[in-house]
Symmetry: C2
Subunit: 333 residues, 2 copies
């Protein structure tokens, strides 16, 4: 890289390096005229400041990280857009880091962040994440963390979530209202907040109606999950209603039903937590609990930036619960 730097600008203008730096940062110490000359020359020479130099000196990187399990999920891809929209407005760059639902990956990523690579972190924990030591360590190094969607109970950080419990309850009640008595809940992991909260809502509804629980934990392997769901739907007392806690599992239910020649919604009714835009075009169209993904992303980013601006803010004070919406479609009617 043939990089134009401040020194080059200084020479060109017969000014000192410090004057250039101050002019570029709009310091009051520099006259308007000089500032103007500097800006003009910078534009002319196509000067771009070296972010590493300034981060090194300034101890601020103007980078924030999004740590999520994957991007191939409608919730996350929408949330990313929300986050980006506010980060960009405040001059922050966004790093997207993928854990692939793997705890070791998540640990390694956060460990890296201890170096000061990012000023703050937005995260949705992996389904394998059971303890928060790695997160606590990061917070101890004064890198603020904000959870969105998937939070970890033990860690005292800001959390922007949706009303998982109520949504789980409402969705289950809907299935019961449709005549289902045997309803299965497909969870992701016994460690995962969203899975547990949604399941708690499911349980409450089932309890109120005196119906038995039927809970299945899926893994992060689609093949295993396919088998799991297939076995479930092959049993003589197969459930007539299924509440899937994440998008990927719903897709598998469609597949299994097709392979087993089961009819949705006649044989099996399905409701899923999902933000799929094409839910309405599936066959049958998919009843979803649709989360405010974009808004949650915006809120999470806004909270993080607030923490970055004023150190002494109470993280819990920024907590937020944004409600989801149950959208009835063919798969459960």
């Amino acid at each position: 890289m043939k990089q134009i730097n401040i020194k080059a600008l200084a020479q060109e203008l017969n000014l000192s390096v410090s004057t250039i730096s101050k002019a570029l940062r709009d310091s009051y110490e520099i006259s308007e005229e000089t500032k103007h000359r500097v800006l003009e020359m910078a534009a002319k020479l196509n000067y771009t400041p070296n972010p590493y130099a300034s981060s090194l000196r300034g101890k601020k990187s103007k980078n924030i990280a999004i740590v999520i399990p994957e991007v191939a999920d409608s919730f996350f891809s929408q949330a990313i857009n929300g986050i980006e929209s506010v980060a960009k407005g405040k001059g922050y760059h966004v790093l997207i880091c993928l854990t692939h639902e793997n705890f070791e990956n998540e640990q390694a990523i956060l460990k890296e962040f201890q170096s000061g690579r990012v000023d703050g972190v937005l995260m949705s924990v992996s389904s394998e994440t059971a303890s928060g030591g790695h997160i606590q360590e990061l917070i101890a190094k004064e890198v603020p963390v904000v959870f969105f969607d998937r939070a970890l109970g033990e860690v005292p950080a800001t959390r922007i979530v949706t009303d998982d419990f109520q949504s789980g309850y409402k969705a289950t009640m809907h299935l019961i209202g449709q005549g289902c008595r045997n309803i299965a809940f497909l969870g992701v992991s016994s460690k995962l907040s969203i899975s547990n909260d949604r399941m708690a809502g499911y349980r409450k509804a089932m309890e109120e109606k005196g119906l038995p629980f039927r809970e299945i934990y899926c893994s992060s392997s689609p093949e295993e999950n396919y088998t799991l769901i297939k076995e479930m739907l092959q049993q003589p007392d197969r459930p007539c209603g299924v509440l899937a806690s994440v998008e990927k599992l719903a897709t598998l239910v469609y597949q299994v039903c097709s392979d087993l020649q089961l009819n949705m919604p006649a044989d099996v009714k399905l409701v899923c937590f999902s933000n799929l835009g094409i839910a309405a075009m599936l066959y049958p169209s998919l009843t979803t609990v649709t989360q405010p993904a974009f808004e949650m992303g915006k809120a999470a980013a806004a909270a993080l930036l607030k923490l970055l601006e004023k150190k002494n803010t109470d993280p819990a004070g920024l907590n937020m619960v944004i409600p989801s919406e149950l959208i009835l479609r063919g798969s459960s009617l």
Copy 2:
């Protein structure tokens, strides 16, 4: 951040800063015993090197960027995974930057990269991108660029693409074979390589059969596109076959057909370039030209890393065309 740095390690071990640095980088100048002691102490004190200092000094950031229009697209989200899998293996970090199909955004992002923030760039140009000055400028600063999927003809950079022309031809031939004579092509932009190549394939097929072209350029606004498609399908001579060049447009066709009470595939047959995992579960299931997204990502990343390792490689020599697959499903049968 209370950061442990090399100086702290040096003090702790009664060694000089330079010795520590060399030991950490496994220099031949340092004895095995000392290296061992240093590594041990580094682990004990939880040392994480400051990436900014190292990038500033070393002129290498170990970062590569992915510049794409959006993440909420199955092709891109899969390609990201492919890229990440090879980058991670070589110790590179991945920055994902979104243009939202906007040329100004793309320009601003690349301009930023002139500062040395990343060592190289993988990109799929926005649909608005008509000229490549901003890309050329970056390459002139010795930041290698590799196109994947959407390339810009005028820029002499490595390109990893799929066989858009043949795929367009095959897809069109399939529709013709199904009895369609009035077939519309839904393009994205007259500037976009993939759109044009796919259209060229369409044209060749139509020409061969003596059928008239019918080409519609969509914008990046879903609302506008909805109207455009609706108008097309409301006309008395509405097409009985549609070839959509990107995923988003196919979704709209489903919507319009539903709103106009048109039956797929009886009234309208649809083929789309898409990597949607749930294409098979749509109603009707969607015939797709499925691209090797993951492989293209891997190939693109591998090419970029090769360019980063040996400066004197000929970019064009790394070009690659990976074929797509036409998967027949209900929407066109």
